[in-house]
Symmetry: C2
Subunit: 292 residues, 2 copies
């Protein structure tokens, strides 16, 4: 079953009001903003990735969802599969680093054993408070679409991780993304819609447009690229960047640096341009679970 | 690494005050009681178990932790590995049943894809409110140790599931445990310590005694057994019963039926008796992750 089919079925079950119809990346409960993400060995990280980096990424990707809501980090739960002594010890080292550096205390969790040769599957559930929580669905016709930072860095970093050689800065963007917690907190009260970029600029922008019942046009020439990244279409369909994607009136002053990459208009769907020419949409707009 | 070693390392990391030193089954945050449990195919459930029952058990085992705190159920998050259409559809049927019957709305979650042939790993995080939350560590010297219901039913049910034939009531106790939410809510304000029985009576009672810095003596002859269960030692070391285990003064009136199976005394460790004779402790007191 695809993620979309599964979600459609879930929406027919008894839903909590805080689930917000399962249309967003976070739930709201008792003043908390709550999000959960699972990472799978061989899907979201490579078996050869250092366990310290897996711990970092697991926590950082969850906190990135809180960043997109402008939340203050409260803490995390960890669901961990016990394995060999060396991997577990290295993971704990990375966990200590990321919890300390991102000021995120541990609230609890669960440990399990896996059958022999099973891939590691790790889950974190993250809690934030005091979030202005701009929804994914709040973009208005005429709003500009912005991203923080540069796009496609993690995709380039993944290629470097697979090749075993390349720019260490891009590799770090793949292995140790830094959630934009301070930027998200500054932006959240001033934007109409916001989400983090986890599956790719094109697919995530499409999701924001669909949730907002609007069309969106993205100008590939405007997509901000890091040094060493040259293909804007590849960058815009690669995931794992954990930058912030947001909609705001084009004339609104922004409290943090961001790049305008597109515009919301009445209608539906995604249009891609480059230097005022229409560009055909690629076969895949980004990463979709259950499709590979 | 064993669960105990891993937990000891986690306790050296930055902990949230609501983690309560990672000594309990639940965390406390913003007036909520929070718990999370992961079920692994081949470890916590059999590949041949009906997906509907796996969904039931996944939710029920989490709500059992809330029951032990006397919480009112608020809702759950689900982390789900998308698989084949048939299994997913059957799981959703069971999920619908358990959420409806236990009055537990869905708050959100995450879906992932797994590599080919990977065992299913499913996580639920459950939220409750207004919990008196008796701790695991609150037993007092002289307190009686009680359990609700009967013990070893799920262990017998697992044997039936493996054999493919046997008493359907015992099988249901393994596949569809019913969390004692109403009993837990009635008991929680009147007991000194409480937890749910997930890993086995002997190991869980030992954990309550250790957390309370006391010794505990259990009388095997007093262990309440279901019809069709005859070996009290096997029953007391089998897991998955999801009954409530609690400590209260022996002269305190209880609001729900329960059986006294032991006594807390000053000291440390577990002593086992049967008809006033000392019984040697078995090699394994119950289920421990990371040890098999």
């Amino acid at each position: 079953m695809t993620e979309a089919d599964f979600l459609a079925r879930l929406r027919t079950l008894p839903l909590h009001p805080g689930a917000q119809g399962l249309t967003d990346d976070t739930a709201a409960l008792a003043g908390l903003t709550i999000t959960t993400d699972t990472l799978v060995e061989g899907i979201h990280f490579l078996s050869a990735d250092p366990p310290q980096d897996v711990a970092w990424k697991l926590v950082a990707t969850n906190l990135s969802d809180l960043a997109a809501k402008g939340a203050i980090v409260e803490g995390i739960l960890l669901n961990y599969p016990l394995g060999d002594e060396t991997w577990d010890a290295a993971f704990l080292d990375g966990l200590s680093e990321v919890l300390t550096e991102l000021d995120c205390p541990l609230l609890g969790g669960d440990t399990v054993t896996l059958p022999a040769n099973a891939p590691r599957i790790l889950t974190v559930t993250a809690f934030g408070r005091d979030a202005p929580a701009p929804p994914r669905s709040g973009a208005k016709a005429g709003d500009a679409l912005y991203v923080t930072g540069t796009i496609g860095d993690a995709g380039a970093g993944l290629a470097i991780a697979r090749a075993g050689t390349g720019d260490p800065e891009l590799l770090a963007r793949y292995r140790r993304p830094v959630p934009r917690l301070a930027d998200g907190r500054a932006l959240a009260p001033r934007v109409n819609a916001m989400m983090d970029l986890s599956d790719g600029l094109l697919i995530d922008a499409s999701r924001m447009a669909a949730a907002s019942a609007l069309a969106v046009t993205i100008d590939l020439a405007a997509v901000p690229l890091a040094r060493g990244v040259s293909d804007p279409l590849a960058a815009a369909t690669a995931g794992d960047d954990y930058e912030l994607l947001f909609a705001a009136p084009a004339d609104r002053a922004l409290p943090v640096p961001a790049t305008r990459v597109g515009t919301f208009t009445p209608g539906a769907g995604l249009t891609l341009t480059q230097d005022n020419r229409l560009i055909p949409l690629p076969a895949s707009l980004g990463y979709q679970h259950g499709l590979r």
